[in-house]
Amino acid sequence: MELPAPTLLLQIAFCVYGVGAGASLLALRHERIANLVGFGCATLAGLFGIGAGVTALIFGPGDGGGAFALWPPLVPYLQLTIKLDPLSAFFVIIVSFLALAVSVYSFGYVRGFYGRKSVGVLTAFFNTLLLATTLVFTASNAFFFLISWEIMALTAYCLVSFEHEKSGTRNAGVLFFIMSHIGTGCLILGFLLLFQAAGGHSPGGYSFDTFRALGATMSPGRRDAAFLLFLFGFGVKAGIVPLHIWLPEAHPVAPSNASALLSGVLIKTGIYGLTRVLFDFMGTPPNWWGVTILTIGTISAVLGVLYALMEHDLKRLLAYHSIENIGIILMGLGAALMFLHTHHPMLAALALIAGLYHTINHAIFKALLFLGAGAILHATHTRDMEKMGGLIKRMPKTAFFFLIGAVAISALPPLNGFVSEWLTYQSLLQGFGTTNSLVRLMFPLSGAMLALTGALAAACFVKAFGITFLAQPRSEQAAQAHEVSPTMLLGMGLLTAACVFLGLFPTLFLTLLAPVTQQLLGQPLPAYLIQADGWVLGSAKEIGGTVSTLGIALMGICLLPIPLVLRLCFGRRTKVRIGPTWDCGLRGLTPQMEYTATGFSKPIRMIFKALFRPRREVQREYDYSPYFAKTLRFESHIEEAFVTRLYRPLNRTILRLSRRMRALQAGSIQAYLIYIFITLLLLLLFAL
C-alpha cells in the first residue's frame, strides 16, 4: 500500500483547522454544534498532523525535501512557503498530539461554559491557535514565520483574556500582550540582521534556506548581536528567567484546555526558534553562547521550582513549573552548543537529544497536569489548594492520571521525566572531559542544580497531589466534587499513556530523533545510545552508564511477591480494622487541623528566606496575655524579587519619561509640521 505523502497530510491538517475555525464562527449561536464541530475538527487535524510528522521522520519528507508553497506569491517578498524538515516534523508531532488529546478533553470541559460564555468563539480561537502554531513550526521563510508568530501571539492573547469579566484576567492578558510584542520586536531585528548578511534584496532573501549556516560568514559583532536578539525574543516566549513574569500570570487565567496548550506547546515555540536559529543558521558558536544558555537554563530551573513551591493556586504552581522545565531543556541545548564549540558532535547530539526529549516530555506531562487541574476546577470551582482535599475518593480516575503526571514531572523512574533528565545528566557528566578550561566545572555544578531542581519538584508535587487529593476535604465544594465526564477522562488518559510509553520505551522513540540530529549536526545518533536490541538506553561512551526503565518496571513487578510471601509465612491470621486517625485524645479530627499547602512549604520558605523575602503580618487581640489570643489574623505574602526590583522601577521610569514626552504633543498643527520637516531633513542628511 502506498503511504500518503507527509506534505499532503500536513495540507489536510491545515485545511481541517481552517474549517474548524470557520465553522465555529458560523455556529456561534449553537453552542453544542460549535463544540462538536470545532473540537471535532481539531481532533481530526491533530490526527493528520501526527501522521504527517511521524511519516516524515520515518520515511523522509518526500519530494523536494517536504517543501511546498501554501499559496502562490501575490505580493513580492511575501511567500507562504512551508517546509517539513525533520526538526519541524518533530515539533509538529508535539503540537498535533496535544491538539488531539486536549480537543478530546475539551468536548466535556467546555460544557461548563454553556449559557455563560460563547463556546463558538473559544473553539474558533482554539483552532486558529493550533493552525498558527503548526505554521510557526513549518514556515520556511522569515516573513511567513513572523506572520504566523504574530497570529499565534494574538490568538493566545484572546484565549488568555477569554474570561475578561475579571480584572485579574484583563491585567494578565495585557502583560502577556506587551511582553510578547517586545519579544517579537527583537525577532524582527534579528531576522533583519540575517537578511542583511545573506546579501538580501532578492525575493528569496528571507527564505530559511539562504540563512542556513550563515553565521560563519557574519562578522563576530553582528553574529553576537543576532544571538542576543534571538535569545531575548525567543526567551520571552519560552519564559526564561528574568523574562518570565508574564507566564505565571497569563497561563492560569486561561480556560484550562487553553492553559494546557499554552504551557505544553506555545512556550515550546521559543525552544523551536532557538534550536532552529542556533543550530541551523549560526554555524559553530563561540563558547560564551553555550555558557550563557546553560547558566540561564540552570537559573530558570532552580528559581522556577522555588517559586512554584510557594504557590497554593494549583494552576499558578503548574505555570511556574513550566519555567523550571524550560530551564532543564535549555541546559541540554546550552551543553550541546558548548560541545559544538569544542567539536564534539557526538556529545552535542546526546545533549541536543536530551533537550528535545525533555521538550516533548514536558509538553505531555504538563498538558496532563493542566487538564487534571482543569478537571478539579470543573468539579470544585476553585484553584485554591487550601480549599481542596480528599478528592481521590470523589474523583479516583482524575487522581490516578494526576499522580502519573506528578511522578513523571518529578523525574522519578520509570516514567518519561526521568529518562530525559537522565540523558541531561549524562551529557553534563561526559562534558567534563571535553575541555581543559575552568568552564568544565560548570557541567557538574549544573548537574548538582538539576538534582536540587528534581528534588524540589518532587517536594512540590507531594504537596500538590497530597494537599489536593488526599486526607479530608477542606471545604464544602471539595466534599461535593464529582468525577468528570468520560471525554475529559479520555483526553487525560491519552496523555497518561504517552507518559508511560515515552518512559518505558525511550529507545523506540529516540530512533525517531535520528533524522533531527542528522539534519542539525550532521551526526547520527551516538552508537552506544541504544544497547541490547533497544532494551537498554546508554550514554555516548561505551562504559558511560546504562539505564533501562522497562527493566526497572519489570523487575519491580518480580519483587512484589516478596511481601505476599512474608504475609503468608507470618501474618495469615491478621485482621485489618478501619479506625479513626490518632487525634491526641481530642474529639475527632477536623479538616482545619490538617496540614495546609502553605504550611507544607514553610520550611523551604524559611530556608530560602533571603530569596523570597516573605511579608507576614500577624494581628492578635488579647485580654491578659498574648498567649491566649481572642482573635488572630495572619497574612503572608510573597512577591517576586524580579517584579519588585526590576520591572516595577522600569515601569515607573517609562511612565515618567512618557509624561515628559507629552510636552512634544502640544496639539498645535504648526509644531507637528516642523517635526515632520526636521525628520525629513535628518533623513536626507543621513541618506547623503
Binding site: P413, W422, Q426, G545
Partner: protein, 313 residues
C-alpha cells in the same frame, strides 16, 4: 541462570543483613551511653512481631496509603540490586547506575511522604514536609559528591565505578575522594534519619521527621516500611564503603571468594556503623533550621572535591 541466581542471592542478602546493621547501631549506641540496650538481633524480632500483628487503617486513608509500603519496599530493593555489595558486579547494573539508584530512592520517598499526608493527621503532614525539605537540600551535595567519583571513573555505572576504584590509578588518600567521602557521610546521616538531623529513637511529636510520617502505620505495613528503612541504610552505607574503600571485594564468583568478600563487606560496614554511632552519641540533635547549615557544609565539601579533581589531576 547465573543472573537470576545473583539477583536472588543479593535480594536475600539485603533483606537478611540490613536489620543486623540497625541492631548493631542501636546496641552499640546504648553501650556508649552506659545502658545495656536491646540485643543486636532485636530488629529481626520486631519485624516478625509487626508481621504477626493486626492492622488499624485510618478511615480517611485512600489506596495511596495501602500501596505506599509496597512501592517503598520494591523501589528500595531495586536500588539495592543496583549496588555492588560482595563482588564487583551488581546484578542489575545494566538496568541503571547511580542516577537510577538515587531516582529509585526518591521514588520511595515520594510515596512515603504521600503516605504521611493521606490519613489527615497534622503529624503526618509535618513529617512529610520536613522529609521532602531535607531530602531536597541534601540532594545537590549527594549528586555532586557522586559526580566527582563518576567523573574520575568515567561512568555512572556503579560496577564500573568500583572497577575504576580497583584500577592502578586509584589512590586512597586522593583529596577529591576524601572530601567527597566527608560530604557523602553527612548526606548519609541526613538520608537515614540519624542524629544530628533526625532522632530515630524519638517519639516526641514536634521533633520527629521519619517517625511522624509513619505514625498511622501498623502491623504488616509498618514491618515493610521499617525493613525498607534498614535496607536503604544498608545500601547507602555500601555506597560509601565500596566506592571509597574497594578492598576485599570478590573479583570472581567462586564460593570461597564470595564468602571472603562477604566477610570483608560486613567488616567494612561495621566500621562505618561504629563511626555513625560515635557521631550519634557525641552530638545533640540540631534545630530543624540549623540542618540546612550542615547540609550546605556537605555541599561545599563536595564542591571542593570537584575543584580538587581539577587541581590535582
Amino acid at each position: 541462570m547465573s543472573d537470576f541466581l545473583a539477583i536472588l542471592l543479593q535480594t536475600l542478602l539485603l533483606l537478611a543483613l540490613s536489620p543486623l546493621i540497625s541492631g548493631c547501631i542501636r546496641n552499640w549506641k546504648a553501650k556508649l551511653q552506659n545502658r545495656r540496650g536491646p540485643r543486636i538481633w532485636q530488629p529481626y524480632f520486631d519485624l516478625v512481631k509487626f508481621l504477626r500483628k493486626d492492622m488499624v487503617i485510618s478511615e480517611h486513608a485512600s489506596w495511596i496509603f495501602r500501596a505506599m509500603p509496597y512501592v517503598l519496599f520494591t523501589s528500595t530493593l531495586l536500588a539495592g540490586l543496583m549496588m555492588p555489595l560482595v563482588n564487583d558486579s551488581a546484578p542489575l547494573s545494566l538496568f541503571g547506575g547511580v542516577l537510577a539508584f538515587v531516582g529509585l530512592l526518591a521514588l520511595g520517598r515520594f510515596f512515603l511522604a504521600l503516605g504521611g499526608l493521606d490519613p489527615a493527621s497534622s503529624f503526618g503532614g509535618m513529617g512529610s514536609s520536613r522529609e521532602m525539605t531535607i531530602a531536597a537540600i541534601a540532594e545537590p551535595a549527594l549528586m555532586l559528591a557522586i559526580f566527582t567519583v563518576a567523573i574520575t571513573a568515567g561512568s555512572t555505572n556503579l560496577s564500573q565505578m568500583l572497577l575504576a576504584a580497583q584500577g592502578p590509578t586509584w589512590r586512597l588518600l586522593n583529596p577529591a575522594h576524601v572530601l567527597a567521602f566527608a560530604a557523602l557521610f553527612i548526606v548519609l546521616l541526613a538520608e537515614t534519619g540519624r542524629l544530628p538531623v533526625d532522632n530515630p529513637a524519638t517519639h516526641l511529636e514536634l521533633t520527629m521527621i521519619h517517625e511522624a510520617m509513619i505514625l498511622e502505620y501498623s502491623g504488616r505495613y509498618l514491618a515493610l516500611i521499617e525493613w525498607s528503612a534498614s535496607v536503604k541504610q544498608l545500601v547507602l552505607m555500601a555506597l560509601l564503603v565500596n566506592i571509597f574503600f574497594p578492598v576485599g571485594i570478590a573479583t570472581d564468583v567462586g564460593p570461597v571468594a564470595l564468602a571472603l568478600g562477604l566477610l570483608g563487606f560486613i567488616a567494612k560496614l561495621l566500621v562505618l556503623a561504629g563511626a555513625v554511632v560515635l557521631v550519634e552519641t557525641s552530638n545533640a540533635k540540631l534545630r530543624l533550621f540549623r540542618v540546612p547549615d550542615l547540609l550546605s557544609a556537605a555541599f561545599i565539601l563536595a564542591t571542593l572535591a570537584l575543584l580538587s579533581t581539577f587541581l590535582f589531576q
